[in-house]
């Protein structure tokens, strides 16, 4: 076992490109972060910022044309980027559990709930059909599926969206993974169902203490779930810190603008709704300086000249030349 700093996951200088027909997109550009045992890390950003690509790169499930150019991904001290396909298959579903946005497409429609939840145990642990089935019932109970043993022989289409997401979570947890990657796990759900699933995540965190990479566009979901937050914009991490730091002592101008543009129930209708002008850059041809500069109200020539480096303290870093005032 190689040296480890005690982190479950260590991602260092990760670069991912996706080759399209006429251009190459730099989807993830020099991204580094760690996840400690029992820690939930929220990776937030808007469509196309590269947050889902990071998740897929960790799992080595990048779409056609996508590849890791450089950097390192270490899970419990083991480098994942150099594993061959077979070795990687042994990691997925065993050491890393996965929950996607839409359980209807991520669950196999022709397999019963019981065999789907038990499948990782049969594949990775050589469990017998009987053992896998018994364990599946326990897992379904853990994720709060009502009358779990009666659900084993049902099919995904017979369940509601919320119940399906519980089933995919049960399957992801089957082998007691070191890391759970949850990509927009509640985005396809109604708010009252989302609330139930978020409650489940909080309970599992208390009971199992798993490490979670929570990928989402929803700052509210991150606020309630994450211990630390990674804010991503146009392929780069722009602000990283403890959740309260990022929300209450926001430094990066993108994070600030993003938080201001979220409508809330308490803000009055009379107030003008903040928006961020323009749209994110084309990552085939990213701007030379700060990637947020073209949309930033605080932009100067300096911002367009060179990419700002990460600065700040160990607990809270940001890549901004004109950061918001650090409030006491």
């Amino acid at each position: 076992m190689s040296r480890s700093d005690g982190s479950v996951l260590t991602v260092a200088s990760l670069r991912v490109v996706i080759a399209l027909r006429h251009s190459t997109v730099r989807a993830v550009d020099d991204v580094s972060f760690t996840i400690a045992p029992g820690e939930t890390v929220g990776l937030v950003g808007e469509s196309g910022c590269g947050k889902t690509t990071i998740g897929l790169a960790l799992l080595r499930l990048l779409p056609a044309g996508g590849r890791i150019v450089s950097g390192s991904v270490r899970l419990g001290g083991h480098e994942l980027t150099t594993l061959d396909d077979e070795q990687m298959r042994a990691v997925r579903g065993d050491r890393i559990g996965i929950v996607f946005q839409d359980p209807l497409t991520s669950l196999n429609p022709t397999m019963t709930i019981g065999s789907q939840v038990g499948e990782p145990l049969r594949i990775h642990r050589g469990a017998t059909a009987r053992t896998a089935r018994d364990r599946a019932a326990e897992l379904l109970e853990l994720v709060g599926l009502p009358s779990p043993s009666r659900q084993l022989d049902r099919y995904p289409h017979q369940l509601s969206g919320g119940m399906r997401q519980r089933v995919s979570l049960a399957a992801a947890l089957a082998c007691d993974p070191a890391l759970l990657i949850a990509d927009e796990p509640t985005t396809a759900l109604d708010v009252t169902t989302q609330d139930q699933i978020l409650e489940l995540f909080s309970r599992l965190k208390r009971e199992i203490g798993m490490a979670v990479l929570l990928i989402t566009h929803d700052m509210g979901v991150v606020a309630g779930q994450a211990d630390r937050v990674l804010v991503m914009y146009a392929g780069k991490l722009v602000e990283v810190g403890a959740t309260d730091q990022v929300f209450y002592r926001t430094r990066h101008r993108y994070t600030q603008a993003l938080l201001e543009s979220i409508p809330t129930l308490t803000s009055s209708r009379a107030e003008a709704l903040h928006s961020i002008p323009g749209q994110p850059p084309d990552l085939a041809h990213p701007p030379p300086g700060c990637r947020f500069a073209p949309r930033c109200a605080f932009m100067t020539d300096e911002c367009r000249a060179a990419q700002p480096a990460m600065s700040g303290s160990q607990a809270h870093t940001f890549a901004c030349i004109h950061p918001a005032e650090a409030r006491a």
Partner: protein, 335 residues
């Protein structure tokens, strides 16, 4: 906003038959909308909220005439449009336009943007081709798209810009009412407000009446004068948006508000979760009594048997609940 109603729904019912694929026999009914009455003054915005399957989209389709109600009537500018036919019905169609949720699916990818926006004018034979092109340029400019947009295809535009194209198309016939079904749900939060602000500007400039349908109460808050909350085909609360947001009265409305994740870590962590238990019942066999009773934290025996009527809880504020969170207006207590 205090003007005469431009739109009035009177006890609207919409049921969809379920036919068995084998015998083509009717085997059941989806009770999509079960007796909804609403009134929207000219120039104002009604926000219609609720979760999947509550019937809000069906109400929107009925309002613009894409579906006909099973029972009840829809009055537009005082005239019953659910019973009109032929030319008169078509003419009144022009006054009611729909903007769809998914700007990727609702624009024909093989048509140039100029043609997409011109199409409604061509269908209704309004003006010469030349006049129509001029109108298209004016519309594109109005929704904030560059002049060269007309010659380009939808895929060349971002989600926010496509929703602008959808708005330009809806505006082409100079409608009086626009039904916008989840107009910003597919958009990123930083882009959402651009589109909502544009909708607000267009409303003022054209004296438009809006019905904005959304699952998201925070989005609706910014645009609505009136707010209606639907659950399983029923209107459970309706009123002045300010009053409903300040004093949610139906437990379902309160739950919808409480379950929105707050971008405020301390408050979000402290808030109770999982208040609304269980699953949405089937619309083919809705529960008796109050339809929300199977999931309601306040439900008692009466809720399982007696359907609560809408009762007043203030001027222009009604809710249908036996155990409301606010006191009803004096003299109207029923529970």
């Amino acid at each position: 906003m205090s003007g005469a109603p431009l739109l009035e729904l009177r006890d609207i019912v919409k049921e969809f038959p379920i036919t068995s694929t084998v015998l083509q026999r009717r085997v059941g009914l989806v009770h999509a909308v079960s007796g909804v009455s609403l009134s929207v003054p000219a120039g104002s915005t009604l926000g219609l909220v609720g979760e999947s399957g509550c019937g809000k989209t069906t109400v929107g389709r009925l309002i613009v005439g894409l579906d006909r109600p099973t029972a009840g009537s829809i009055l537009f500018d005082g005239r019953d449009v659910s019973s009109l036919s032929g030319r008169e019905r078509r003419r009144l169609h022009r006054d009611r336009q729909l903007v769809f949720q998914d700007p990727y699916a609702s624009l024909d990818p093989r048509m140039r943007v100029g043609e997409i926006v011109r199409e409604p004018l061509a269908i209704h034979h309004l003006g010469s081709r030349r006049q129509q092109r001029v109108a298209v340029q004016r519309l594109l400019e109005e929704v904030g798209l560059p002049p060269d947009a007309a010659a380009r295809f939808p895929h060349e535009f971002s989600g926010g810009q496509r929703q602008r194209i959808g708005l330009a198309r809806a505006l082409a016939l100079n409608p009086r009412l626009i039904v916008a079904d989840e107009p910003v749900s597919a958009l990123d939060v930083s882009i959402r407000s651009q589109v909502l602000n544009l909708m607000h500007d267009l409303q003022l400039r054209h004296d438009l009446t809006y019905v904005v349908i959304s699952h998201d109460l925070t989005v609706v808050r910014y645009v609505s004068d009136l707010l209606g909350v639907m659950y399983l085909g029923k209107l459970v609360e309706v009123g002045d948006a300010e009053a409903v947001y300040a004093r949610p009265t139906h437990p379902y409305t309160a739950a919808l508000m409480a379950t929105i994740p707050l971008p405020d870590p301390v408050r979000e962590r402290a808030k109770p979760h999982g208040l609304i238990r269980g699953e949405l019942p089937s619309a083919t066999n809705p529960p008796p009594g109050c339809r929300f009773h199977t999931r309601c934290p306040r439900a008692a025996d009466v809720c399982r048997i007696v359907e609560p009527p809408l009762r007043p809880f203030g001027e222009r504020h009604h809710a249908a609940c036996h155990f409301p969170l606010q006191d009803p207006v004096e003299g109207t207590s029923a529970a």
